[in-house]
């Protein structure tokens, strides 16, 4: 079986990283089409690349997705993937997550009659005003196999009329990747290297372009964070600082900014923090599985299980609410139950499901 794995964005790399060795051991031929920008994939020799410290086999193709609006990136990516699939005729295409390139790959494959496997299928925030939610719903409509991270995601798909035989509750590869990376590097001293102590700081991660473009949102977040009694570390802060400056806002002194960090350092910092405050989807999942309380500043989340299990709280971008939520989160202990199948066997479940065959849509 020949599979093309589409990595639609840099953030997709952690979703597929644990999968690739598992697929290869299951004798599934895998080649990667990388739409995350070639400069983020650093050659580390012997056929592998490192994308912010996450090692994956070197992509066979770097796919142009252009830049600009939703229509432009989706439109350009559709054309690129249509050409690629027409030339390669893979037996199936695996896409993950919910970015425009993911949808573009899915619709192009479906129109070419190539079965689409969707990893991280069925999660929903319930707001179709969110572009990612639109992509999620649409990918589910055209996919032939749905690999869900949670039992709730499976229910969502069934509610949308997806044939239950096409849905496989495999668990969360983001959690698997986090567990594997940290298991391989115990006691790595990352927290101390930033001059911080375990549980002695708040980690802030904000990067959604829609959020950063909203001056009121930025003001609320900055004000809320600045109430923290613990030091705040903000890695990968360039875009945030630029947005704040543009909005005429000053960065409070309690926030230490850093540039982008390798994934293992990020995971180590998430694990060591008293709490994480974020608008990132992946960080919500990683904080949950690494036992760090999370405060998510958004009006909705598609990672509903992290909230229901008690690891994560959702707050609106108002300074008072954010400040209070951080205050509460730093005192919280990790007593929550981990979501089912957020473990180290997810990729084996994926490989087994794909091995059994992907039935094309009628």
């Amino acid at each position: 079986m020949q599979l093309i794995v589409v990595v639609g964005a840099r953030a997709n790399v952690v979703k597929v990283a644990p999968l690739l060795p598992a697929l290869s051991s299951a004798k599934i031929g895998v080649r990667i089409a990388f739409a995350g920008g070639k400069r983020d994939a650093l050659d580390c020799g012997i056929g592998f690349v490192s994308v912010f410290g996450v090692i994956i086999p070197a992509p066979t193709w770097y796919v142009d997705t252009g830049s600009g609006t939703n229509a432009t990136t989706t439109g350009v990516a559709m054309r690129s993937f249509e050409r690629l699939f027409a030339a390669q005729h893979p037996d199936a295409v695996l896409v993950c997550g919910d970015v425009n390139a993911t949808f573009a790959a899915a619709i192009s494959a479906a129109k070419a009659g190539i079965p689409v496997i969707h990893l991280e299928a069925g999660i929903r925030c319930g707001d179709l005003g969110v572009a990612d939610e639109i992509n999620r719903v649409l990918i589910s409509r055209v996919a032939a196999m749905h690999l869900t991270p949670t039992a709730l995601a499976l229910e969502n798909l069934e509610d949308e009329g997806i044939d239950p035989e096409r849905i496989h509750f495999v668990g969360n590869t983001v959690a698997e990747q986090a567990l594997r990376e940290l298991d391989a590097a115990p006691g790595n001293g990352v927290v101390e290297s930033f001059g911080l102590t375990r549980r002695g700081y708040v980690l802030a991660v904000f990067h959604r372009p829609d959020d950063l473009a909203d001056a009121a949102w930025l003001a609320g977040v900055l004000d809320g964070i600045s109430a923290s009694t613990l030091p705040v570390l903000m890695p990968d802060a360039e875009a945030f600082v630029e947005a704040a400056t543009t909005a005429g806002l000053e960065m409070p002194s309690v926030i230490q900014t850093r540039s982008a960090l390798p994934h293992l350092k990020m995971l180590s910092l998430i694990r060591g923090a008293a709490c994480v405050v974020t608008d990132s989807g992946g960080v919500q999942e990683e904080a949950c599985v690494l036992c760090t309380p999370c405060v998510t500043v958004r009006h909705c989340t598609e990672h509903v299980d992290t909230v229901s299990t008690g690891a994560n709280v959702l707050v609106q971008p108002e300074s008072g609410a954010i400040g209070a939520a951080i205050g509460k989160a730093v005192g919280k202990r990790c007593t929550w139950a981990q979501p089912v199948r957020w473990d180290s066997a997810v990729s084996d479940r994926v490989a087994r499901a794909i091995r059994r065959g992907v039935a094309p849509l009628r």
């Binding site: 439109g75 639109i134 409509r141 849509l361």
Partner: protein, 362 residues
């Protein structure tokens, strides 16, 4: 006053929009047409606009022909730009062509509510690009205007909120009813030396028939064996395929002719003894003009015409077609016209729009 933009891209779209524009003009809806240029043949497009009394498009995007991804991508990018500039209250898309999908994708991602006319039709065949366009467009639509009662069942099974669904009926039927009085005396068949009720009208253009030489040849065999003379308007792209299948030259009974305008085509359908087609719209028009129809396809999304007895579905096989033809000619006429396939469809569309289009976000 409510401002909407109506997307048309291909001939079936023009027919559906025909009755809407006068209804909008006498209501509180300011509607303007954007022509994507997806199917653009200067003569035919102009003839259709003239035949249908359509107002000149306010915008022409010149998307042109190309693969699915190329057409959809270009139309999306151009439509997004237009929508950002014009900021209409809603975008109305019709049918299931690539321009329909492109409009729905572009609008939904920038928060312009999408209204889909002819929503909820399903063939159940995911190898048809139109079926993928229908599935995706319906998920993106804030308001779904359905032509038949079963369309709502299809949509509800896909988790569409029933409050968004309005059973308005079939606007194509309204177009037929409105135009038949204008062509009472038109004898389009005479130009081809044919008498009324004495010929079969044939249109075959779908890839599922024309891209498979064995199917094209089976259809040719069936047509050559028919007792009735055959009149076959054919797109220049399809002509060589049919000629290769044995329908070329000056055959005494099977004549391939250039495409004809809307009113001539309607007259040809009305006056035929029988119609053989793989077109969606013609299955409906045949039902309206009282001519029995044989549909050569694996399946149809116009099941209602089969249920009511105006249409029968056969596979692309010479003996199946022959049997369908003799059954169609022997079957009693005077079938029931489907509910709301009447002259009030456009008024129902107006009433639904005036009732307000609730955005999906929230």
């Amino acid at each position: 006053m409510m401002r909407i933009i109506v997307v048309v891209g291909a001939r079936p779209n023009f027919i559906k929009v025909g009755p809407l524009m006068p209804a909008f003009a006498k209501s509180e809806i300011d509607a303007r047409i954007v022509h994507t240029g997806q199917h653009y043949d200067a003569t035919m497009s102009d003839v259709f606009f003239a035949d249908l009394d359509l107002p000149k498009p306010s915008w022409f995007l010149g998307v042109g022909s190309g693969t699915h991804a190329v057409q959809t991508g270009r139309a999306m990018i151009a439509l997004e730009e237009l929508l950002l500039k014009e900021k209409p209250d809603a975008l109305l898309v019709v049918g299931d062509v690539n321009s329909t999908l492109a409009g729905a994708l572009a609008a939904s991602k920038i928060g312009v509510p999408v209204v889909h006319l002819e929503a909820g039709l399903r063939s159940g065949d995911m190898s048809m690009p139109e079926e993928l366009n229908r599935l995706v467009t319906d998920q993106l639509s804030s308001m779904l205007l359905t032509p038949v009662p079963t369309a709502a069942d299809n949509l509800i099974a896909e988790a569409i909120d029933p409050a968004r669904i309005h059973f308005v009926g079939n606007v194509m039927a309204q177009s037929v009813l409105g135009n038949l009085p204008r062509i009472q005396d038109r004898d389009a068949a005479a130009a081809y030396g044919l008498e009324r009720e004495s010929y079969a009208l044939v249109t075959i253009h779908r890839p599922e028939n024309t891209d498979h030489p064995e199917k094209a040849s089976a259809i040719a065999t069936a047509l050559l064996a028919m007792e009735l003379p055959v009149l076959f308007p054919v797109h220049p792209r399809t002509r060589p395929i049919l000629e290769a299948a044995g329908l070329g030259g000056d055959h005494p009974r099977v004549r391939l002719i250039d495409p004809v305008g809307y009113l001539d085509m309607l007259a040809l359908q009305r006056d035929a003894a029988l119609i053989v087609t793989d077109s969606g719209g013609i299955q409906e028009e045949a039902c309206m003009v009282g001519t029995p129809c044989v549909t050569v396809r694996r399946n149809t999304e116009r099941q209602i015409t089969v249920e009511l007895g105006s249409n029968r579905l056969v596979q692309a096989d010479a003996s199946e077609i022959a049997q369908g033809v003799s059954e169609a000619l022997a079957a009693p006429k005077g079938w029931e016209i489907p509910a709301r396939w009447d002259a009030d469809v456009a008024d129902r569309v107006v009433a639904a729009l005036i009732g307000g289009v609730t955005p999906l976000a929230g």
